[in-house]
């Protein structure tokens, strides 16, 4: 994504400029560059969105262009968990455990309206978790039912932008706010 395509450049620049000295920002830049270009997702799919996630990794849309093609089956090797599909009450503890097993730094993308808010199952359903943020902290929301692979791709690129803007300070603050949740 080009810089002018991104809507929120002011805060990006502000985040970069604020507070840190030359050495730390340089190290941050290097670390962030490394992190953002090798985001390995966990193969975690519960329902329909999983198929679109597979399609995003397939030849037409091709995740691999951005360094995220390596789907990992083990949470220990994954950097980002794409919550693709509905999370129900029985699945929620499993999702939490998977998230806890992932090594830092870890990121979460809520894909599809089920993961965002319960979606079509928001009303009347007795067992659907109404939004995955009740279980784990979410970084990027990708709306749609299911979202197109392009939408997921855009969401992943937004996550890369987010990682690019991170500093050691903000990383620490983010973690502590997650822990208190």
């Amino acid at each position: 994504m080009k810089k002018e395509d991104f809507g929120d450049n002011e805060s990006l620049d502000l985040l970069k400029e604020s507070g840190s000295n030359v050495l730390l920002t340089t190290i941050d830049d290097v670390i962030n560059w490394g992190r953002k270009n090798s985001l390995w997702p966990l193969t975690f799919a519960t329902s329909c969105c999983g198929i679109e996630m597979m399609a995003a990794g397939a030849p037409r849309h091709d995740f691999a262009r951005f360094g995220m093609e390596v789907y990992r089956a083990s949470p220990r090797q994954a950097d980002v968990i794409v919550v693709a599909g509905t999370i129900v009450n029985k699945m929620a503890p499993v999702l939490k455990r998977l998230y806890d097993q992932m090594a830092e730094p870890k990121y979460v993308i809520a894909m599809g309206s089920c993961a965002i808010s319960g979606g079509p199952f928001f009303l009347n359903s007795y067992c659907v978790v109404k939004g995955v943020e009740h279980v784990i902290p979410v970084d990027v929301y990708v709306p749609g039912c299911p979202p197109r692979p392009e939408a997921l791709l855009y969401g992943m690129l937004q996550l890369q932008r987010m990682i690019e803007a991170q500093t050691m300070k903000s990383r620490k603050a983010r973690n502590s706010s997650h822990d208190s949740k």
């Binding site: 193969t43 519960t46 329902s47 198929i51 679109e52 399609a55 030849p59 129900v88 079509p120 009347n124």
Partner: protein
């Protein structure tokens, strides 16, 4: 302490239990299998379901009939269009509406396209389960071409929600016929490539022939339908035995194989893709003129009674059972989903095989987990 050590005999093989899933790439969703093993041999499989139970049947009781259609999309998401059709046919049957030929033909073409794309995805993931990553890329590459056709006509890629009671949502796109013909021309050339890649592969034969044998008697007594049942020689194609939509006006053969092993189930699905293309070719050039939907009342109320309609999805027989008490909401809806029934045979056919065969057998059953749990 010393006595305890005496009791353990290192030569004696002990049974142990491993837990496969709910998050496991080869269970194709959130199915949890508790597998008892003796060495490498599978002794018993206990499937635990409910990790994606969303209460769709209960939800149906509080919403109207046109709204139910959108929930059925999300049950078996790979045969979304066929699921919609089942509900629509049931509602139309209850209201005794005559459906014009144009709608029937459009629905049939769409159903067969859905079947092809479902089998393509199955082929892709089945190949990947057995270690052939190329299959994944081939299958999904060709699947996108069908999704393009869907997108142009229905507006949606995967969960199309194209049916509504009394017809379809919109008329077909002017490009529809041309694109479908182009696709069939293309796919007739590509499908032999699938065979070259996997069907004739010696490693694949070793891993699939004679593995997970399901006899005809067992298939009938378990109620296994779809390509899984037909791979065992069980003639269970609803399209043939109880034709709905436009299936009564075309000639096609029901694919039957008698071996009942993993390879047979595989080859049944490949043959079904050929047969689906035959069906589409018979219909695509003569879509009759007429309206694309019958005018329905704004609020659909079914007369009191019980209604049942079954259709053939890509995975087997889907039955929709509606009890109506005359209101705009159904009193009770029950889905007889093919995957739930097909899962029941998993333990029976996997016993005695190696744990690596479990993945192959599970792939050949082609389970979609949200359809099991609903």
């Amino acid at each position: 302490m010393e006595e305890k050590e005496k009791n353990i005999n290192p030569d004696e093989q002990q049974e142990y239990v491993i837990n496969m899933g709910p998050q496991h790439p080869s269970t194709h969703g959130v199915l949890r299998l508790v597998v008892s093993l003796k060495g490498e041999i599978v002794k018993n499989i206990e499937p635990h379901i409910g990790y994606i139970h969303r209460g769709i049947e209960k939800m149906c009781e509080s919403i109207t009939y046109p709204q139910i259609i959108h929930l059925t999309d999300r049950m078996d998401y790979l045969s979304a269009h066929i699921n919609n059709e089942a509900v629509c046919l049931n509602v139309e049957k209850a209201l005794e509406i005559d459906i014009p030929d144009r709608i029937k033909v459009i629905r049939t073409i769409m159903s067969e396209l859905t079947r092809i794309q479902s089998h393509q995805l199955w082929w892709a993931s089945f190949g990947m389960d057995l270690g052939g990553l190329t299959c994944f890329f081939y299958g999904l590459r060709d699947r996108e071409k069908i999704l393009d056709i869907f997108e142009e006509t229905c507006g949606g890629r995967m969960l199309v929600s194209y049916n509504c009671p009394g017809g379809v949502m919109y008329d077909i796109h002017p490009n529809f016929q041309k694109r479908v013909k182009d696709f069939i021309k293309y796919f007739r050339k590509i499908l032999p490539e699938y065979d070259q890649l996997l069907s004739g592969n010696v490693i694949f034969h070793e891993r699939s022939k004679g593995i997970g044998k399901l006899s005809l008697e067992d298939a009938i007594s378990y109620g296994i339908t779809g390509p899984t049942g037909r791979g065992s020689g069980f003639s269970c194609d609803v399209r043939k035995h109880e034709p709905y939509s436009a299936y009564d006006r075309i000639t096609f053969k029901e694919i039957l194989h008698t071996e009942g092993d993993t390879y047979c189930r595989y080859i049944t699905r490949i043959d079904e893709m050929w047969e689906s293309m035959n069906i589409i070719e018979q219909l695509i050039d003569n879509i009759p003129e007429g309206p694309f939907a019958v005018k329905m009342k704004p609020i659909i109320k079914l007369p009191e009674g019980e209604y049942y309609q079954r259709v053939e999805t890509a995975r087997g027989e889907l039955g929709v059972y509606i009890i109506s008490d005359g209101n705009k909401n159904p009193y009770r809806v029950k889905f007889r989903s093919p995957n739930f029934v097909n899962l029941s045979v998993f333990n029976h056919i996997t016993k005695g095989f190696k744990i690596a065969d479990l993945v192959a057998i599970g792939g050949s059953l082609d389970l979609v987990i949200p359809d099991i749990d609903r």
